[in-house]
Symmetry: C2
Subunit: 205 residues, 2 copies
Amino acid sequence: MENDIFTRTFSPLLIVLSGTAGAGKDSVIRRMQERDIPFEFVVTATSRSPRPGEVNGRDYLFLSQTEFQAMVRNDELLEHAVVYNQHKGIPKQPVFKALQSGKDVLLRVDVQGAATIRSRYPQAVTVFLSALSEEELTRRLFRRGGDSPDQVALRLRTALEEMKQISEFDYVVINADNRLDEAVDVLHAILRAEHARADPRRIIP
Amino acid sequence: MENDIFTRTFSPLLIVLSGTAGAGKDSVIRRMQERDIPFEFVVTATSRSPRPGEVNGRDYLFLSQTEFQAMVRNDELLEHAVVYNQHKGIPKQPVFKALQSGKDVLLRVDVQGAATIRSRYPQAVTVFLSALSEEELTRRLFRRGGDSPDQVALRLRTALEEMKQISEFDYVVINADNRLDEAVDVLHAILRAEHARADPRRIIP
């Protein structure tokens, strides 16, 4: 079946967009949406408070500790973890609903979350997004609002540590300053190439 | 080294464009060149005579039986085989020269040749090009000049047999009638995606 070219069907992908803080995951996702690249973005649920400008349901699903714990208890999360003392996790239901309707699903997860998803769903396509240089990364982390200098320093140390794990990922995409569209082009190319695999990475049967 | 994102360098790829007769390999390569997609096309050497319109050095390297045998004896071919009683093979020297100068190399080879290259260079990126349907393929084989009806029938049987081997390839690209640019887009995406691999498929050290 799988080997019959003339009857091949579209297999939706589970794409994990990861990378360090300051890599620009949110900007990349927003630009992909603006460019009408077809995929379903499933937002992460979190127990932390919204940062200035963040919108519930678009950036994150903001839950109370109690609501989050209930999702954990009911096994409603694809993966979840405590990062910087806050709960984060990907709700299962919208992921499988989108895949079943034939849509590629894109998740934005930190490096720890990517490792969990990879171990549970080895067919997931994992992408590590990165700044072009350490200077660029440092600048971005300092510019970002809402964090104390200590938090920034911690994020930078964590980022440099996380970068050692890139060989666990399928792809590395560089998101350099003022070259957002290049990063989006490469991500788009990855989606097209993965759909052309002779042996597609099927998440759902 | 390989794991340091900030010092990653470009690794040239060896791309094997294969597929059955009538898949449209030549048209795809020509359109890729017209669209200035950067790669070096290394032509196959053959002992058969040129078909109408074929140019020596552009389409094939046309050699005498004697010249071809000398290349085989001197181990100057990446792979070679006898297909339909004619010798075909890829000269090594231009392949490694281009790779060493940092260029992606694209080879056009039949399914048998692709299998040989894959076994010798498992890092090669292999693509199986195909018509959209059996009707389309049959029509193309009949339309093609220079073959007798018996030769066409043999090519069609061989093609359907070769299609059973697609799972040996990395990618399958459909080249449907009047949708050449779509096939080229997918090939271009494959090149970009392969260059973004966390663990690049290096042919040369």
